[in-house]
Structure formats: structure tokens, C-alpha cells
């Protein structure tokens, strides 16, 4: 289990995350939503120890995350960020094998084992990248590249996936495809995922739980229909919204009503 307990993170005198408690449980997808600057990414980054806490705790299987080595965390918690700019030509396979780093020996030349290759072959098949494994990363389309980033995270065999706006640069079909891959992994291996997203409808559709944040504080957490209510959303986003049920899935569907003018956004 990966959890944040009464977590507070401040930079200088600015409080980015304030007293947030969050639990990621096996097999469940939690989405983290809220306005820009709500502290979503900071919270996500604290869950693998990259951002250090001011007070409270991040617990990985009951132990403070600071007690684990980088490799140990790398084997348990994987991050999917938006793709970084690549300045060197790397094949898709080499990129994905990067996910096996934490399983390698602590010292030495560090060549991949047969097991590393089997896992890479599996995740390439899972993300439908097998045929592209020899292509260079910078030759791929945006959707393919983001899938490779996910494949690398899956190759770590981590029990916890942290996805930071994984669908930000993707079109409709690719957004759904990516989150489906995450859903499948969570179902198949009891992996827990935390997804930071701005897309409330996507959040509603794929999430078991939603955590709504504003100004570093947790406003509400619960099932999608408990959190994505018109009252809460209007208050948090300062915009009138209509929430009805998705005609097919029944998940809450959020439609913004009035578009605020500049100056009205607080």
C-alpha cells in the first residue's frame, strides 16, 4: 500500500500541499483533479520521494519512503510523466529496457538479463509496440511515444503507477487507449494507479476514486459520483458546470456552462 498521511509540503513560505491524506489500494485507479496550481503534481512527485515532505508521512507498505533506496523505490513505484525532449537517438526497445534498471545489479557493466528481455517483450506486446521496437523514439508519433513511456513504466513491474497528465498531448482515441492500458494492468496485476489529469470526464470514466484538490488542500475524495458534483466543481473551478450521467457508462459527465471572462478567474 502506498499512502500519504497528513502530508504537507512547502517551498520557502509557499504551501504547495497542505494536510493531504491519500491511499492507493491494489487494483484501483485514483484520479487527482483540481485547478492549475492546486498541488497535484507536487503530491504525485512526493509519492516516490522526489519532493520531500515538510510534515506528515509518505508510507510504502507501512514504512516511511525515506527508508527505501532509490532502486527499491524504482522497483515498487513507477512514474509516467509527459515525454521529455530526447536529444540522443534511442530505439524503442532500449528506451523500454530503461524500466528494468532498478532490477539490475548495483554495480558492474549492467547488461540486461534474459528476464529483463522477456518483460520488455511482454510490455511491448501489451502496449502494441512490438513491431516498432527497433524504431528510434524520435521517429514515433506523439501517441506511440507516450505509449512507449507507459511501456517503460510497466516494465518496472511496479505495484504503483503514478501518471502525471499522461494524456495531455494525446487525441481522444489515444487518451482512452492509454488509460485502458492502465486499467488492464490494474485489473490483471492488482496494480494501483494515481492519475493526475485535467480531463474530468476521463477521470470519471476510468477512476475508482477521485481526489479533488484546491490550493494544496484536499477538498473531497470518494467515488466519482460523490466528488464530481456541480456544487463542488463550481466552487473549486469557479465556473458553472452541468453534471449529468454518461448515456452509456452512467459515469458522471461534466459540461462547463458559462465561460468566465479574464479577470473572473480567481
Amino acid at each position: 500500500m502506498l499512502e500519504a498521511r497528513d502530508l504537507t509540503i512547502s517551498y520557502n513560505d509557499r504551501v504547495a500541499v497542505s494536510n493531504v491524506t491519500l491511499t492507493l489500494s491494489a487494483g484501483e485507479i485514483t484520479t487527482l483533479v483540481g485547478p492549475n496550481g492546486a498541488g497535484k503534481s507536487t503530491l504525485l512527485r512526493s509519492l516516490n520521494g522526489q519532493v520531500s515532505r515538510t510534515s506528515g508521512a509518505v508510507l510504502l507498505d507501512g514504512q516511511p519512503i525515506e527508508k527505501y533506496s532509490r532502486r527499491a523505490i524504482g522497483r515498487r513505484v513507477a512514474v509516467v510523466a509527459q515525454e521529455a525532449e530526447l536529444r540522443f537517438p534511442v530505439t524503442v526497445l532500449e528506451f523500454v529496457l530503461g524500466g528494468r534498471f532498478a532490477w539490475g545489479p548495483n554495480s558492474g557493466w549492467g547488461w540486461e538479463t534474459e528476464r529483463d528481455l522477456v518483460v520488455a517483450a511482454e510490455v511491448l506486446a501489451e502496449t502494441e509496440l512490438t513491431e516498432l521496437s527497433g524504431r528510434l523514439m524520435n521517429e514515433l508519433s506523439g501517441g506511440e511515444r507516450q505509449r512507449a513511456v507507459l511501456a517503460r513504466a510497466l516494465a518496472t513491474e511496479a505495484s504503483f503507477l503514478l501518471l502525471d497528465e499522461p494524456t495531455a498531448n494525446l487525441d481522444l482515441a489515444h487518451q482512452a487507449m492509454l488509460l485502458n492500458l492502465v486499467r488492464n494492468r490494474c485489473d490483471a496485476r492488482q496494480t494501483a494507479a494515481l492519475v493526475v489529469t485535467h480531463d474530468l470526464n476521463l477521470a470519471a470514466q476510468f477512476a475508482d476514486n477521485v481526489l479533488l484538490m484546491k490550493d494544496g488542500k484536499a477538498v473531497r475524495s470518494g467515488r466519482p459520483h460523490e466528488v464530481l458534483t456541480p456544487e463542488l466543481l463550481s466552487r473549486v473551478f469557479d465556473i458553472e458546470v452541468l453534471v449529468d450521467a454518461h448515456p452509456i457508462t452512467g459515469a458522471p459527465r461534466v459540461t462547463p456552462l458559462a465561460v468566465p471572462r479574464t479577470g473572473e478567474i480567481k
Binding site: F101, A102, G104
Partner: protein, 350 residues
């Protein structure tokens, strides 16, 4: 095409999409053999014509038999040419290894000890040693190392803006450190007597003629140990090459690897500059060729760059000492002649 999960055939098919240990060992062995041949053959080339047969015989006997060479010829071969060629190899290997590691760590294909001002830092250290501790030969590499480490840290700090180090910012930081240290070099030069200034200007451009018997083994040892140490961090560097944050997420101890690379690369640059001045662009040309022909995986490109760098500087120095014989060119002039156009090409493509 689908890959059955337990089918090893799928795994075997992936061999061509990545660098394997086998490919690395074969490539490096080929480079090592070429290097050895180059050492032997190029030691026969020079302003003094040596009898080819006898020289080869003497070389293959490892200097135990003169094979009919006169004492003068024997000394030219074993006291002048061979030490110089071996020094060229050590310097080339050191600079190329340092360049390849800086490029991966700083995520910048243009990072190079000479262009970043790190060689100039080492040069200042060496000159300070010569001016103030002239009697002690050991002070040169020690202060050169200190100088290159300080220059490395200065460039790194200057290049790191709020948005991280962009390639342009890093090169600009390098320019600033280079020009600043050039002024320091000019200043220190004025403290020297006039007769030495000419040989110093020559040395600054890279000069392999002043091989020191005491320091040669040290330069070789540092080149070898440095290349091995950085190769053992190659897998971490592979991830750092893709971004510091990604590397951290995947389990790399970013801070530790950064310190190892800074210290080891500074040691490599310091020992080469103390021995031969600033031979520029080796750290740019050679790693680039290594990546172009063998791929970006540092586990192959670092050792290949080490061997290729040795080969490159041996050849460049042979040109430098023969093209206007009996006079000599600084080897740095030859390497810059090849390296500067490549830098422009890489900059345009970046």
C-alpha cells in the same frame, strides 16, 4: 506480428534492436587491435627515416633486441616516438571518454571538455604549478585536476537556469568560463620569462612532444581507470541521457552518478592537459562517431570512444609531427581543424 509471452524467439528477435554484450566486446576488440596496429605502424613514421624491417623486429621484441638498429635509431624509436605515441593514445582516450560522459550527464551532444572551458581550467592549474611549484613535477597533474574540477562546477552552476540547462545555455556558460580562464592564462603567462612564453603558447594548443617519463605511467593509468569507472556507470548514464527526473524515477542515484562523472572526467581532463596542453574537439568528434556507428548506449559508446579517441589522437599527432617536418604543428590545431566543422554541423542540427 505477435510475440508469445514465453517464446524466447521474440526475445532473440529483439537482439538487433539493442546493443548486446557480444556486440560490445567484438567492436571493442576490433578497435583495440586497430589501435595496437596503429601504435606499431605509426611509430615507423617520422622525420627520421628508420629501417622498417629492423624497427618492426625491435618493436615486436618489445625493445629487448635492437635487431640491427643503430643506438641512435633505437633511441629515437623507444625513447622518443613510442612514449609520444603512447601518450597520444592516453590523452585521446581520456578526452574522448570525458566528452562522452559529459554529453550523457549534461544531456547535450555538444558538451566537450575544451569547449566548456574545462581544459582551460586544467591549463590554469598546470601553469600555476609551473610558475609557483616548478620544481615538483607532481604538482602539475594535481593542480590541473583541481582546475578542471573547479571549471566543471562553475560551468554546471552557470548553465543551470530555472528551466534546467538548455544546450544553448550550457555552451554559453562554457564560452564565459573559457574566455575568463583565457584571461587568467594570459595573466599567468606574463609572470613567466620571455623565453618560455613561446613554448607555452605551443603547449596551450596541444603539444605531445614534452613527454615526461615520470608522468607517462600516471597518465596511462588514469586513462584506463577512468574509462573503466565511467563504463561501469554507463547504464545510469543511459537513463540520465534521457532526463534527470526520469532517471531518478527509474532508480538512478542521480547525485552520486553526477559526482562520480564530474570527479572522474575532471581527473581525465586534468591528467591529459597536464601532459599535453589543451587538445580540443577530441571529446566531441570521437563520441559522436562512436554513437553514429554503434548506437547511443553508453555501455558500448564509452569504451568505444576511449579506444577511438586514442586512435584519433595518434593519427592526428602523426600528421602534426610529419606534415611540415622537421618542424611540428601543435596536435590541437589538427584536431580543431576536424572538430570545428563537425561542431557547426551538430549545432545546426540541434
Amino acid at each position: 506480428m505477435t510475440v508469445a509471452l514465453s517464446d524466447p524467439a521474440g526475445v532473440i528477435a529483439m537482439r538487433r534492436d539493442r546493443v548486446t554484450l557480444r556486440k560490445t566486446v567484438v567492436s571493442c576488440a576490433l578497435l583495440a587491435v586497430t589501435l595496437l596496429l596503429a601504435v606499431i605502424l605509426l611509430s615507423l613514421v617520422g622525420s627520421e627515416q628508420l629501417p622498417v624491417r629492423s624497427s618492426l623486429c625491435a618493436l615486436l621484441s618489445l625493445g629487448t633486441s635492437p635487431c640491427g638498429l643503430s643506438q641512435d635509431q633505437f633511441d629515437i624509436l623507444f625513447q622518443i616516438r613510442l612514449p609520444r605515441i603512447v601518450l597520444a593514445a592516453a590523452v585521446g582516450g581520456s578526452l574522448a571518454t570525458a566528452g562522452a560522459s559529459y554529453q550523457s550527464l549534461l544531456r547535450n551532444p555538444l558538451a566537450e571538455p575544451y569547449l566548456l572551458g574545462i581544459s582551460n581550467g586544467a591549463a590554469v592549474g598546470t601553469m600555476v604549478a609551473l610558475v609557483f611549484f616548478g620544481a615538483s613535477e607532481w604538482s602539475r597533474p594535481v593542480l590541473a585536476f583541481a582546475g578542471s574540477l573547479l571549471a566543471t562546477l562553475a560551468v554546471y552552476r552557470l548553465a543551470r537556469g530555472r528551466a534546467g540547462a538548455t544546450p544553448e545555455r550550457l555552451i554559453l556558460a562554457g564560452v564565459i568560463v573559457t574566455t575568463f580562464l583565457s584571461s587568467v592564462i594570459v595573466f599567468v603567462t606574463t609572470l613567466m620569462d620571455a623565453t618560455r612564453i613561446r613554448s607555452f603558447t605551443f603547449w596551450l594548443l596541444g603539444d605531445l612532444s614534452g613527454t615526461s617519463k615520470t608522468l607517462l605511467p600516471v597518465t596511462i593509468a588514469i586513462a584506463v581507470i577512468g574509462a573503466v569507472a565511467l563504463t561501469l556507470n554507463a547504464r545510469s548514464l543511459n537513463l540520465l541521457m534521457l532526463g534527470e527526473r526520469d532517471a531518478f524515477d527509474l532508480g538512478v542515484e542521480v547525485g552520486r552518478v553526477r559526482i562520480v562523472v564530474f570527479v572522474v572526467a575532471s581527473l581525465l581532463v586534468g591528467s591529459s592537459v597536464a601532459a599535453s596542453g589543451s587538445v580540443g574537439y577530441v571529446g566531441l568528434v570521437v563520441p559522436h562517431l562512436a554513437r553514429l556507428s554503434l548506437g547511443s548506449d553508453n555501455r558500448i559508446s564509452i569504451p568505444a570512444a576511449a579506444l577511438g579517441g586514442a586512435l584519433f589522437v595518434i593519427v592526428a599527432d602523426t600528421v602534426a609531427r610529419t606534415v611540415i617536418a622537421p618542424r611540428e604543428l601543435p596536435v590541437g590545431a589538427i584536431t580543431a581543424l576536424i572538430g570545428a566543422p563537425l561542431f557547426i554541423y551538430l549545432l545546426k542540427r540541434a
